[in-house]
């Protein structure tokens, strides 16, 4: 890429929408808190703000805890990843990407497919089942394994899960969802 070419081409490519969050790096708790606060203030007029904020926190904490790429500093260790929040005419688009161990890829894909095939009531029942169950011992969930289900309940789209194989050990995982705007 020509680093001296300025931002004009990039600007033209995204002229018709807004980028509210664009981050690539170690997603520490402090970083996600700052972005979360910013999301709440810049979207304060939207009724979906709380849901967008909630899904942002789940995706960002996913990267923080589970990214297969880690970065350490004096404060601690955090997962590396990329997060984008875009605003277009009728929807908000939220995506996250990070490296995952290949052994976990199928599990994550299967979970997304499972929740994408569920309606509102089925998601509610599945959520209830997971939250009442024991913490998963699958080695990949530190929390309650609820994140994906919670995201599916809060967004207005299926969870788009794209996997780019990197090498024998890891792949790059992208999760994308969208939210309808109030007036749509």
């Amino acid at each position: 890429m020509n680093e001296s070419g300025g931002l004009y081409n990039q600007y033209l490519g995204i002229k018709d929408h807004k980028i509210l969050v664009s981050f690539k790096g170690a997603v520490s708790q402090d970083i996600l808190t700052e972005f979360g606060t910013m999301i709440k203030s810049s979207l304060s007029a939207e009724t979906k703000t709380n849901r967008i904020f909630a899904v942002f926190v789940e995706l960002a904490q996913n990267i923080l805890h589970y990214s297969a790429e880690k970065e350490s500093n004096s404060i601690g260790t955090a997962g590396v990843g990329i997060i984008l929040l875009k605003e277009k005419q009728d929807r908000f688009f939220l995506s996250s990407g990070n490296m995952v161990d290949n052994k976990n890829v199928e599990k994550i894909k299967a979970k997304c497919e499972k929740v994408n095939g569920m309606n509102k009531d089925q998601l509610k029942a599945f959520h209830q089942e997971l939250i009442r169950g024991d913490r998963p011992k699958d080695g990949i969930s530190r929390g309650a394994g609820l994140g994906i289900v919670d995201i599916a309940r809060k967004c207005d789209s299926p969870i788009d899960c794209i996997v780019n194989p990197v090498d024998d050990a890891i792949s790059f995982l992208t999760l994308s969802v969208s939210f309808k705007k109030d007036n749509q």
């Binding site: 709380n50 929390g143 609820l146």
Partner: protein, 124 residues
């Protein structure tokens, strides 16, 4: 035992544990980096209160919590439900902002599987 206060931060709620009065308040937003670690003092406190057979009121006034915190909230409710089942005196108040339908619905869902007295209360 003294009153225990955990100050709120940007990502964790204020928690007040009053042994004398048998009151537990959880107020604010909850998405700490490590929810299980954050709520550990609450579980310890509940353990000593229920062992001492003290009547208990638990007030949840949460604006937002992430999924790992939600699991801790459910675990707290399960302890209270068990205490209630063993003839412990306990009531739960679930406060939600009057326009926050999601938090109302969450309260309804969380109380659906338990028998402990559970009130949903809106505030403005």
């Amino acid at each position: 035992m003294d009153k225990i206060l955990i100050q709120k931060t940007k990502t964790s709620p204020e928690i007040i544990m009053d042994f004398e009065k048998g009151i537990l308040d959880i107020i604010g937003e909850s998405y700490p980096e490590n929810a299980v670690g954050f709520y550990k003092p609450v579980f310890d406190w509940l353990n000593s209160v229920t062992s001492a057979n003290i009547p208990l009121t638990v007030n949840f006034r949460l604006d937002y919590f992430n999924t790992s915190s939600s699991k801790c909230v459910i675990d707290i409710l399960d302890i209270l439900d068990k205490y209630h089942g063993n003839s412990g005196k306990v009531s739960v108040k679930w406060y939600y902002k009057e326009d926050d339908d999601d938090m109302l619905e969450t309260g309804e869902e969380f109380s659906s599987d338990i028998k402990v007295p559970f009130e949903l209360l809106s505030y403005s």
